[in-house]
């Protein structure tokens, strides 16, 4: 069986498994939008702050569900991989001629498929409730691409956690850590309007701020080269680090099991 065929089989398994666990796909589709509704309703008045970049808080906040959805997909996928380790599926797989790379790529394929579905859903809901993309149709495609890349980058860290710990509980416990990164970012206000100095510094050091700002720039500004370069740059760097570490962890896990 070729590498491509192995990858496709494992990706298909990953997708089917996600579909069979409604909580794993319903939560990432609904919960981020519910939080978006609450935050936009609560912080709508923030648009009257001097220097706020748009008069629609909804447009400003649309980047949030993409990132939170990616976190959900990542943790769920990491938990699935950890379960494969706990149940011995990986042991049995290690006895087959399957290449180790196929496992990682196949697993991430499932995460990316979820990322596609989520990005389409968030964008569709956003447009349906009145958000207009300043960057136009092409900007929408770039948001799609970036959203999928974010899912890949985060997903590689979920896989890394699963491979290093082999424990569903440990992967679950990562969720609050990811959540901290999300909340200590520029998700609620632009960084230049964050008054508390330590928070502004933390948000500036936090890579998640740049992912949010890249998506946000396409929605409310149009084409902002700096925001996009930072967003894509951070995303690609995270993906490279996550994938490299996961690839290094994989043979050890296969050998140990």
């Amino acid at each position: 069986m070729s590498l491509t065929s192995q990858v496709l089989h494992l990706a298909r398994r990953s997708v089917i498994r996600t579909i069979r666990q409604p909580a794993n796909w319903i939560t990432p589709l609904i919960f981020p939008l519910a939080l978006m509704a609450v935050n936009t309703g609560g912080l709508d008045a923030a648009t009257s702050l001097p220097g706020f970049p748009t008069d629609s808080y909804l447009s400003f906040f649309l980047a949030f569900p993409f990132i939170q959805g990616a976190l959900f997909a990542t943790v769920n996928a990491g938990v699935d991989l950890a379960r494969d380790i706990q149940t011995g599926f990986l042991n049995r797989l290690a006895l087959t001629p399957m290449r180790t790379a196929a496992l990682l790529v196949g697993h991430l394929g499932g995460v990316i498929a979820m990322g596609f579905l989520q990005a389409a859903w968030y964008l569709a809901v956003g447009l349906a409730i009145g958000v207009r993309l300043e960057s136009g149709f092409l900007g929408g495609l770039v948001i799609f691409l970036l959203a999928v890349l974010i899912v890949l980058a985060f997903g590689s860290f979920g896989a890394l956690a699963a491979l290093r710990t082999g424990s569903t509980e440990s992967v679950h416990s990562l969720f609050p850590v990811f959540f901290v990164f999300l909340f200590i970012s520029s998700m609620n206000l632009p960084r230049n309007l964050i008054e508390t100095e330590w928070f502004r510094i933390a948000a500036s050091l936090n890579p998640v701020s740049y992912l949010i700002e890249a998506i946000r720039s396409l929605v409310i500004e149009g084409w902002n080269g700096q925001a996009l370069a930072l967003g894509f740059g951070v995303c690609i760097a995270l993906a490279i680090v996550g994938l490299t570490l996961s690839t290094l962890a994989l043979p050890g896990r296969m050998a140990r099991t």
Binding site: G41, D44, A46, V180, I194
Partner: protein
């Protein structure tokens, strides 16, 4: 000691012992409110400058009241998870056989919930004061604020206990958590009710949590307003949920624990 109290102290002590000696129970209960407080009060302090936003003791105190009440409600709900765990492990069955007055079980869980929250509230208060929170209210006002929070804690516990004793499975966790989450967030969390978006303002004005938040904020500001209504409302809710929880206890008894 009357049987109901001897049962209550034993159950309450056990709940506290479990909570304070199990890091996976203790840490999230403390960390999440701290985190919300830091993220909201730190990241959104500029919201204080929104035209029409007038809160005499500053945004940190404004957010402190929300996080205090939120932590109280969720400490009650999380104690509900502990009740479910007792049913799933069979401990509740043995408890029911051993308890001469089973209402004491419910009272004990309530004592456990209050004790659990007390530590979180103390730490949250210390962090808020260190962060420079201004307090306009006198001792009586602040006592009133914490009493309000204790009553919210009891409401959260009784609501969750009613669900836990009826369904007796951890799969009921979202049913305990989600209504509380929605009630808390469809209220004036970030800004006063008159600055909310229209649709959220409409919901917030009929949401009883709004009354509790406004009363709590008026107490910390030292300008008490609608205190009787808030206390009347929360005592009424507690009485309603007490009936709900006792009926749940009877259902659990009928089902054999």
């Amino acid at each position: 000691m009357r049987p109901v109290f001897s049962v209550a102290t034993a159950v309450g002590w056990r709940m506290l012992h479990n909570n304070f000696t199990t890091p996976s129970l203790l840490i999230p209960g403390i960390a999440f409110p701290m985190f919300f407080f830091v993220a909201f009060a730190g990241g959104l302090s500029r919201v204080n400058d929104i035209p029409g936003f007038q809160f005499p003791v500053g945004y940190t105190a404004f957010q402190f009241v929300f996080v205090l009440l939120q932590s109280a409600a969720f400490a009650g709900v999380f104690t509900g998870f502990g009740i479910v765990r007792d049913f799933e492990t069979g401990f509740a069955r043995r408890l029911m056989v051993a308890a001469p007055d089973r209402r004491g079980i419910l009272l004990g869980y309530a004592l456990g919930a209050i004790g659990r929250w007390a530590l979180t509230a103390a730490l949250l208060t210390v962090v808020a004061v260190l962060a420079g929170m201004e307090v306009g209210g006198n001792g009586v006002d602040i006592l009133g604020l914490y009493t309000l929070a204790v009553l919210v804690n009891v409401c959260g516990l009784l609501w969750a206990a009613g669900i836990a004793m009826r369904l007796r499975t951890l799969q009921a966790a979202p049913l305990m958590q989600l209504p509380v989450f929605l009630a808390l967030f469809f209220a004036p969390v970030f800004v006063p009710v008159e600055l909310l978006a229209n649709w959220l303002e409409t919901i917030a004005r009929v949401n009883p949590v709004t009354l509790l938040l406004e009363a709590g904020r008026s107490l910390i500001a030292g300008e008490p307003a609608r205190i009787l209504a808030a206390f009347g409302g929360v005592v009424g809710l507690a009485a309603l949920f007490a009936v709900w929880a006792v009926r749940g206890l009877r259902r659990a008894e009928a089902a054999g624990g």
